[in-house]
Symmetry: C2
Subunit: 410 residues, 2 copies
Amino acid sequence: MPAKHAAPASAVLETSPAQGASTLPSAKLEAFLADCQLPTPFVVVDTEVVAQRYDALQDALPMADLFYAVKANPARPILDTLIGRGSFFDVASLGEIEHCLAAGVTSDRLSFGNTIKKRAHVERAYNLGVRLFAFDAEPELDKLSQTAPDATVFCRVLCDGKGAEWPLSRKFGCDPDEAERLLHLAADRGLRVGVSFHVGSQQGNVDAWDAAIETAARLARSLMGRTEPVRLDVVNVGGGFPGIYQREMPSIDLYGEAIAASLARHFTPLYGDYLPRIIAEPGRYLVADAGVLRTEVILVSRKHELDEKRWVYIDCGKFGGLAETMEEAIRYKIRTPHDEAVENGAPVGAVIIAGPSCDSADVLYEKTDYRMPIALAEGDQVDFLSTGAYTTTYSSVGFNGFAPLADYYI
Amino acid sequence: MPAKHAAPASAVLETSPAQGASTLPSAKLEAFLADCQLPTPFVVVDTEVVAQRYDALQDALPMADLFYAVKANPARPILDTLIGRGSFFDVASLGEIEHCLAAGVTSDRLSFGNTIKKRAHVERAYNLGVRLFAFDAEPELDKLSQTAPDATVFCRVLCDGKGAEWPLSRKFGCDPDEAERLLHLAADRGLRVGVSFHVGSQQGNVDAWDAAIETAARLARSLMGRTEPVRLDVVNVGGGFPGIYQREMPSIDLYGEAIAASLARHFTPLYGDYLPRIIAEPGRYLVADAGVLRTEVILVSRKHELDEKRWVYIDCGKFGGLAETMEEAIRYKIRTPHDEAVENGAPVGAVIIAGPSCDSADVLYEKTDYRMPIALAEGDQVDFLSTGAYTTTYSSVGFNGFAPLADYYI
């Protein structure tokens, strides 16, 4: 089980967006970036911040096993840090399974959380020792019952995603009625069963989990009503715990309290004191804030001499790591060399921020009201905060002849 | 100069969308895919089709030097094919310049068409022999006049993009008034000057070039009005020539006729018979149709037993090469193993098509009314046509643990 710490570095978590963009989560990152001569763009991640986030989340959710969503950032130093903390791992593919095993994760700590798996990959995962699988449809359940007969299979149920900065599509999960049918079918086939859901990425409403947990309890009750009652083996409350971007978010403790209260409210009447195994799948929360992405300004221009709004072109764009700016869903805090001057009264002005590629879709922020120092110019280094998650692996292999995003771990 | 062919394989170009999805542009591709045991996903490109497209476009635009937009697909076999045809090359970055030079392109055949360039990269490009550069703002012009004093610099002017399937954002180009100011400034500094524009990717209106060419002529007239008249060195009519997707497009000859008529209408009164050098930057048109992307169906499911619409999950998604499905802008033709049965009456039904990653944004088509055979099932191989452009290099380095898209050239 994960180590518990009496005094997690919760000060780090309390970094408020209101404090301005210039606060980094650790002195180590400040020092690294202060005299950094590395070519841009790159992202640097402080693994100690990852460890702090892990401990803080485990403290907030003491009832849960934390399965790190490897897709957020699969870098070895991050896996090593989390292995040292006692983490479990949520994997999206056979590639991620092999990557985790190579890092020393044991297969009993893996959950194959993708509802879309090739049959051969389920088989291989099972042979490698994985015993925890997601599904949301009958053909997928068929694969699992045929290939992984003694596994625990958890059915993903659709959520509405209200309150999330990145509400999920209907891609994953099925309607609750369908989930009920599938869970009974899985039980008929002798599989151990669970329920999972995801309330949406960067979820700002700590009560968002309640409706889904209520649904999970309703499904649990249905399984208890069988001639030979079946208990849920697992309730997987997913992810959605926020990183620090432009919008202020509740502290992680409030998430923990809300989820604990909801589990008690809906499951205690059914199971008494013996809850199913509770699983969470944090990705962004554990690694986002630990990273800083440094870029360089290539050009500041106007489309017309008299335009008020400037275009700021930087050397990292949508295809080089900043893919989560898609539809401007994730709005990063941005730091410039002129921020101190701005605090002392130097002027700022509205900007559109765009990447370096010859792709007209490679515009990062156009609708969001970003303002940057009027003094900003070619060659200035601009830092995007909370970029430890969903940057490096989103990067393209070489779109427009640009190399993939470089990454460093300190 | 490019070789001209009396009888280009124009039959290839006339492949009409109305003929259904199952027509590939060459027998070589059919044969390759017929007994292909390669693991999916992959894209295969027939370079002979690329050569045919090059010849057809050169025939349609005999007055133009064709600068292949390398970003569309920088693979060596494609460069080799086009070098053999006498092509010029439009490059987006120093990386692409070095890649082209390594392939044997001479630097006088390169155009650094990105309006966003690091000063050090302009310098390096200039030292490598590049003498043709784009710009759209005064600070970029400063870089060029300081670093590339005897170059030809062409100013990109904004277009409205009407009629394009992928209208461009305002990222590239400046307002015509600003272009006029900048061109005079460039002339003051002794640079040779040109004008460029882009009417939008996958442009369906052959008359879309006219307004931009008229603007270019107006700018040319302004430069002729100087005490010492300055002639435009280059008019760059950009790209926008279409690939074959779902929507039927005019034949390439009609584009050529419209552009030639427009150049004559606007430039002959000004320059007589001596037009500036005309440049075009085809990317998609040359390589898209030459490629087929083969995927495998992983899962076909419904969110509820009674849903009419099925979800079809395949092993290639937005982050694995099909990035141009973004906002469903590019709607590929899709081929399944059941198409013959469908032609003989087997039923089809509405689908949503999604990729394999654990990313909820990785949905390819949800609003577009795609219909696929009811018989479609796990393991079926599904081909996306016209995927030779903007697939391989968009692919992520390893999002969700999936390898970048494999590519083959035949």
